[in-house]
Amino acid sequence: MLVVLAGLLAAGALGGCSKSGEPAQAGGSGQPGGSQKPKEKVEIQFWNPLTGEAAAILDGIAQSFNTSQDAISVKTLSSQDPQKQLTAISGGNAPDLVMTYWNNIGPWSEAGAVLNLEEKIKTSGFQTETIIPAALDRMKVDGKLHGFPISMSMSNKLFYNKKMFQEAGIAKPPETLEELLDAAKKLTKKDDKGNITQIGFIPDYPWIDNVFWPIIFGGSWEDGKGKLTANQKANVDSIAYQASFYKEFGNEAIAKFKSGMGKANTPQDPILSGKLGMMIGWENKYNDQRGENGELGVAPFPYPQDRPELKNSGMVSPVAMFIPAKAKHADEAWTFMQYLLSEDVQIRYATEVKTIPVLLKALDNPKLTKNESLKSMWEFYESAKSKNLNGFPNSIYINEYLQALSEETEKALKGQQTAQQAMDAVVAKIQPKADKAAKK
């Protein structure tokens, strides 16, 4: 046991100097020199919800880690969805490291299932400022880090159908939200019965996004002191803006068109089939169809005309890793977590999975920015450095908060209530839950 501890200390020290450009070689791989007896290998369980190819990539990384040192052996288990994770952790049979969706960190942390990492970060000297802040902030619960992102997804672009733009005579993608609405009008066609046959933009396609839109308007959901801010002007404006599309094209008409326009990632995909002109762009969508030679153009998502400082805003949703509070080998898990956050591993994972690394310096690494096979990702790597990235705050009531936002936004989009009424209703409903959580 002492030997393992010594190894860990060494790893921690190495992790601390990882700024020098060397990946944090974790696990105490350093030859302990001299006549040490063979170490007892600690096996840690790493659960992830991945399947198929992505799971195999993660297995490969764990394999590399296992061969790189002889103190820790990581065993990965894929296809462990949040439901299974929840059952295992609450049943007292927690794995040592878990990969999960970021919005589980809040409720699970508040419930005491997730290890607070502040202590480990301090003793190992891990530099948290090397991580993209918008991704890292999602891992904070009550201001304390309870996990780390391994990669992140980002929506901050506008995807558009190039051919439709050409046909409508639109020379360049809209830069402001006002231009977006104009372009949408030009791209929308109706038949003589008033049925929409093609549409420029649907603000709640592919779903009601109650995080993305307020970010575009510079909004927030909590003031950091426990007061919910969903009903402030920026948030309300973002709902009203979305509603303006419904006002323009008609509730019934949009609903009817939507039901028949086809679903994303099917042969009837509306933005590929020319039924939908523009949509919010994610880094993980249409990788093969976007860019110079593809059917889809990519542009920064428009900003409000009167607030140019909000240019390059975007929503970040990281994939989270955490150590369960009841993990048997928390130290070893932390060592492996640092390995996953080292530059080489971050680049390898991002390259193989085609995702965005969370390590800031990886964004400028030529292995990513000069890798032709990642060309469609380049503009996402570049914009991942934007200061205007944000996400939803994590808390124990996060899922109730998000649900309430969806419900009220839906009514506002359909014109059953004003945007202000909708957001006031959300705050009235969720503020008591926030107060209750604060008291604990």
């Binding site: 409720p107 419930a111 396609y205 009817k256 068109f257 326009m261 899922n399 649900q403 969806s406 839906e410």
Partner: protein, 308 residues
Amino acid sequence: MNAGNQIGIRRRERKRLLVGLLFISPWLAGLLLFQLYPILSSFYYSLTEYSLFTPPEWVGAANYKELFDDPKVWLSLYNTLFMTIFGLFPHLAFALAIALLLNRNVKGQSIYRTIYFLPTLVPIVAATLLWMWLLNAQYGLINELAGRIGLPQPNWLLDPKWTKPALVLMGFWGTGTATIMYLAALQEVPRMYYEAAEIDGANAWQKFRQITLPAISPMTLFQVIMGIIGTLQLFTQGYVFAEGNGQAIGGPENSLLFYGVYLYQTAFSFLRMGYASAMAWLLFAVVFALTILVFKTSAKWVYYGGDR
């Protein structure tokens, strides 16, 4: 009879009882461990605040009080009872109609019976996804047909007024089990009643009304009760309908937020196990009350062929 003999019987009976209990002990253990214990502990949890990870905190009747102030509980109960009332009874009537047809002596009878039962074998999720295509407002076959005969063409999947009727419509497809059970009941009706009625000059409707319906009423009672319990637990169809449309869990304007769906969300998304347990007990009370109600009224409309 003398006292000694009686004691002997009692001893023998007790032994028989013990042996019997021993034989059913695997089932008994299962019942106690996997049914009774969870049921009772869920009642305890319903009186606590419990997030799964930390020990439950006693809150008394607070969860039950909150149930009555939670508009979503009422909305989900309404959605669910809508399906019970407007779904179950039409479905049963349809199943009976099909069973009557299948009971006729025609060529290829068994082939028809198989065909009508087949859809029941399709997994609910697959059937639901299939029906979402049929119900598609623009290209769906159903609206295509409705348009040809001049009926309105509602937006089945996205208009909150039509999502539940869409599910009811879809439900007709899955009535195979009810049909088969009705068919079995129909074949139990003694021929002699019909013969007697024919001699008396009864027409087809009179025979159906006076003989068939009363004779199969125990089966109807059974199906109504099982149907009520089943529809009150409705989950999959509503969940898939909403998911498949990329909507929040309750579908358009929560029109598909069934009680089971809301319960699931409360427990596993909001992590409020205590409140969810209270919801489960409310559901139990509702099912219990409705079942009692049906039983009470059944004296008036259910006829047993036996001694009663």
